[in-house]
Every structure is written in structure tokens, then in C-alpha cells.
Amino acid sequence: MSWLTYAALYFIHALYTAYRSLLSYRSYFNNPPQVLNVPRKKLPKHLALLIIPDEELSAESCREAMVQNVELLTSWCKDAGIERLTVYDREGILNDSAIEIQDRLRTSEDSSNSSAESEPEYPLTPPLSDVSESRTLTPEIIPPPLQLHTIHIPSRPRAKRHTRNVVKRRKPAETEKSPEAKSIALHLICRATGKPALARVAQHFLQVQRQSKASVHILDSIDDVGVCLEGERGLSPPDLMIVHDMASSRRQRPLELHGFPPWQMRLTEFRQTKPAPRFCAEGGKHATALLDEAEFVCALDEFSCAEMRLGK
């Protein structure tokens, strides 16, 4: 290839880089303010956040920013009425911080409901190790559990006026609960919940087949695999996934999924967070690493307009 060809290629790339930068500035300034608490035609029942860490931050700063992102998103999801949230990071940094995340969510829940009398319960569910019965498989075919942490955040009533000489009840009456407050299940997952989990399912069926020594195949269909990966001991498919690269400069790059569980992505809608222009990076890399509520709302708005044809 001649030097002229290489020069032409680099020139095309330079033009493309300039074009992308212009698009990102235009998109940033043309983004109208969004409102979270408005009725939408369609809301995801299950939202996923795929976080890509910024290696230029120190390990502790990166971890702290990731935990803050989980807190932010949990709060917005509760306000929006989303009942299930999965947060994925490839290396399992958030899995390792599950206890801290649970404590911080409890603290922020307590501070927003300071008059609530009962202690909030946030059972932390580590990867399941005990056997539970499956509704659709026979008892000898109990699927292996997926590796995920689950934090249940129940709904809490809003603060009530206190009156004298009234017996304070431990639990508030149903009619006094805010109609908007919804409980949320938060799952923390990593790469091990994806491809390795499918390999473990295969290994599990191999062991069952060996033990049964039956001539009939135990594993018959997609449903058998699906029950293992999505059932009671698994992870349901997210309706919407927000992919957030904490390094703002990388958000112009095409979408990549960094090992997110493939089985569960069949019909998931994707949205990437956009890069912030350099002059808007107030507060440095840590601030730009955090999710922006406007982006979250845009993702919900786009999802509510998406048409699902399901093959038809």
C-alpha cells in the first residue's frame, strides 16, 4: 500500500473524529431537561446497568463511584416505579462491596423516612447454596444457582404527622402507605453469572445424566436451559440496559457488552450514556463517572416508544 493510501486513511479518520466531536457537543446542548415522575406508555419491569470502570481513577475512587452509581440508580428506579434492577460489572467489584451497598441503601432509606418506627429489612441474598424446589423440573434435576447477590429494598411509608395519646403502631396501616412507593429487588452480578453459568448448567445436566444412566436425554429443549438460568434460582431478562462507561472520553465508542450474561439479553433494549464535553467536566473525573439523571430519564423515554414485534 502506498504512503498516499495511508495518508488518505488517516485523513478520513481525522474527519470522522471531528464529526463525532461535533455530534457530541450538539447532542449535549440540544438535550432538553427531562422529568422523571411522569406517566409513560411503557416502563421496564427490569432494568440493568452495565458499568465499565475507569482505570485512570484509583481503585478506591473507582469503587466508590460505582457504589454511588448504584445508590443513584436505585433511588431513581424507586421513584420511577421500576421493581427490579440488575447492576453488572465484569470484575465483580460491586459483588465484593455488597454489604457496604446494603448498608448505604439502608442509611439513605432511613434518612428519607426518619419517622418510620420499624427497622428496615434488607436481607442480603448471597449466591444460593441450598437446594430449593423447582416448580417445573423434577426434584432430581435441581439447577445450580447463578452467582448473584440480591438486595431487597421494601417500600416504606412516607413520614406521618405525630399526634399525642395515639398508640404508635409498629407497622402503618395499608391505607396510609404512599401509593407511589414500590419495593425493589437489586441484583449485583458479574461475568461469572454469564458464560461460566451456562457451562455450569451443562456440567449439571452431564452429572444428572451420568447418575441416572437413563437412555432418555434429560436435557430436551431450550426451556430446560431457560429454567436453570432464568428461573427462581436465576436471573430474569432485563427489558432495558443502560451501558455506562465511567470514563467519559470512551462513551463515544460503540456499544460493547463486556461479558454480560448472553442468555438474558434476547430482547433487551440498549442505551449508552453520552460523553460530556471536556469543558463541562466540573468536579473532575469522579463527577463525570457518575450517572446523570437526565440520561436515565432519556433511556426511559426511548424505551416507552420502542416497538416490540417479537418476530411478527
Binding site: Y16, K195, R253
Partner: protein, 261 residues
């Protein structure tokens, strides 16, 4: 597609020059396309749905030739989903007719696949296909089986979950046949038993979905979940061409260069 008409010879020369320049940089080994938007294209142009699918076939030939001229080793396309059998019988029949006719056209002597040395693989749950289409599949695969410069995977009728479940079944079966109680099934075993791997496809570098939809719709989920750039193009598939592929290729080259540093 460009919004303004230009003389055909100018377009051809420009395309040739652009492909030559792009080939100076890194080229993806495996590109996959979800060819979405044929019906919306037809409605937009006040055509029958079948005409939209016919235009979609023309786009497939166009994009396939571009990929071959660039040096892409493997192209996978989502021709027909197992879920698409839910469509109206009339549309399904039209799609099967198109598949039967075009499979043989593509594989004929002197046509595109022979010109670029492309081996055709039809991947999916083929026992769901009508007998006449199955015969066409077998004939087309046979005609191209000795081609060894590139691969075209036509995924029909296909879903990724069916592919993954089948890979799990195959991995279990192979392990049972080895009769070694210490043998464990790994990710690598699943990967090797995928239909795309069995057809000799390299790892997937880029997945493109047209028509503005931002979903994977059960296509190559395992293959694209790591180290694959996923690109959503707003163009309808019948309109998709080199100018739509250009930014996608440039993004790939930027990634390849940054990884090489």
C-alpha cells in the same frame, strides 16, 4: 444510500477508491448483520411486503460484495428467525420462496459466492424448513463446499437461545461419549459446539442491526457478549450500503489501533 443522485461511474470509482483506502487499515474478520427494516421500507415506498424482502436481498448482495472486497473473512446474516414463523402464512410463504430461489442464484457458477470463493453455511433449526427449501439449502451448500477464501453464514431459521441450548446438548453428549467421570464441561466446550463455530467462523468483531432498533432479538448473543462492537444503524436494510458501513469500519479500526498500542 446517498440522498442525491450521482452518475453510476462516479459512484463506482469512488467506492473502489474508498474500499482501497479502508483496506490499508485493520479489517474485521467477522461481521454480522441483522437485516431489519424490509417491511417498513416497503410501506414507506408504497410497495408490497414481498417487494421489501426482494430489495433486502439486493442489499444483501451489495453488502456482501463490499465485505468481500474489503477482505472480511466471514459474514453472518439473520435471514429468518424461528419466531418469524408467527408471521402471516402469506409472508412466510413468500420468504420461503425467496430463500429457495436466491440460495441457488447466489451459489450458481459465476455468481457472487464463486467469484469471491465464499463457502455458504445455512445455520439454524433446519428441520423446520419446508422440504423444497431444505433441498435448495443442501444443493447450495454442496455447490460452495470447496470455496475457502471466506464464509457466509445464513442464519435461518435461527435463534441464539436455540443455538446455545443445542451447544449445551452437544457438549453433554460429547462428554458422555468420552466416558470420563472427571471430565468437566467448560465455556470453551460450549463455544466450540456453537453452530457458527462448527461452520468455521472466527470470533465476531462487529454486529450491525439496521432500522434503528436497539435490540439483539436473539441473534448471536453468546458470540457478541464480549469483544464485539455492536452498532445500531438507523437505515432500513434495503437502503444500507457502503456509506452506512463506513463509520462502522472506522470505529473498528480505531479500536484495533488502540489495542495494538
Amino acid at each position: 444510500m446517498l440522498p442525491w443522485p450521482i452518475p453510476v461511474w462516479v459512484a463506482a470509482k469512488t467506492q473502489t477508491a474508498l474500499l482501497r483506502v479502508l483496506s490499508a487499515g485493520p479489517i474485521p474478520k467477522h461481521v454480522a448483520f441483522v437485516m431489519d427494516g424490509n417491511r417498513r421500507y416497503a410501506r414507506m415506498h408504497h410497495q408490497e411486503v414481498q417487494q421489501g424482502h426482494a430489495e433486502g436481498y439486493v442489499a444483501l448482495r451489495r453488502v456482501l460484495e463490499i465485505c468481500m472486497r474489503l477482505g472480511v473473512q466471514c459474514v453472518s446474516v439473520y435471514s429468518f428467525s424461528i419466531e418469524n414463523f408467527k408471521r402471516s402464512p402469506k409472508e412466510v410463504q413468500a420468504l420461503m420462496d425467496l430463500a429457495e430461489e436466491k440460495l441457488l442464484e447466489l451459489s450458481e457458477h459465476g455468481d457472487l459466492l464463486e467469484e469471491y470463493g465464499v463457502r455458504l453455511n445455512v445455520i439454524g433449526k433446519k428441520d423446520l424448513l419446508p422440504e423444497r427449501v431444505l433441498v435448495a439449502v443442501q444443493k447450495a451448500e454442496q455447490l460452495t463446499r470447496n470455496n475457502n477464501r471466506a464464509i457466509l453464514n445464513l442464519c435461518m431459521p435461527y435463534t441464539s437461545r436455540d443455538e446455545m441450548a443445542t451447544a449445551v446438548q452437544s457438549a453433554v453428549q460429547h462428554a458422555l461419549e468420552k466416558d470420563d467421570d472427571d471430565l468437566e464441561i467448560t465455556e470453551k466446550d460450549i463455544d466450540e459446539n456453537l453452530m457458527t463455530s462448527l461452520a468455521g467462523s472466527p470470533p465476531l468483531d462487529i454486529l450491525v442491526r439496521t432500522s434503528g432498533v436497539k435490540r439483539l432479538s436473539d441473534f448471536l448473543l453468546w458470540q457478541c457478549s464480549e469483544n464485539t462492537q455492536i452498532q445500531f444503524s438507523s437505515a432500513y436494510w434495503p437502503d444500507f450500503g457502503l456509506w452506512d458501513l463506513l463509520p462502522i469500519l472506522l470505529d473498528y479500526q480505531r479500536k484495533a489501533w488502540s489495542e495494538a498500542q
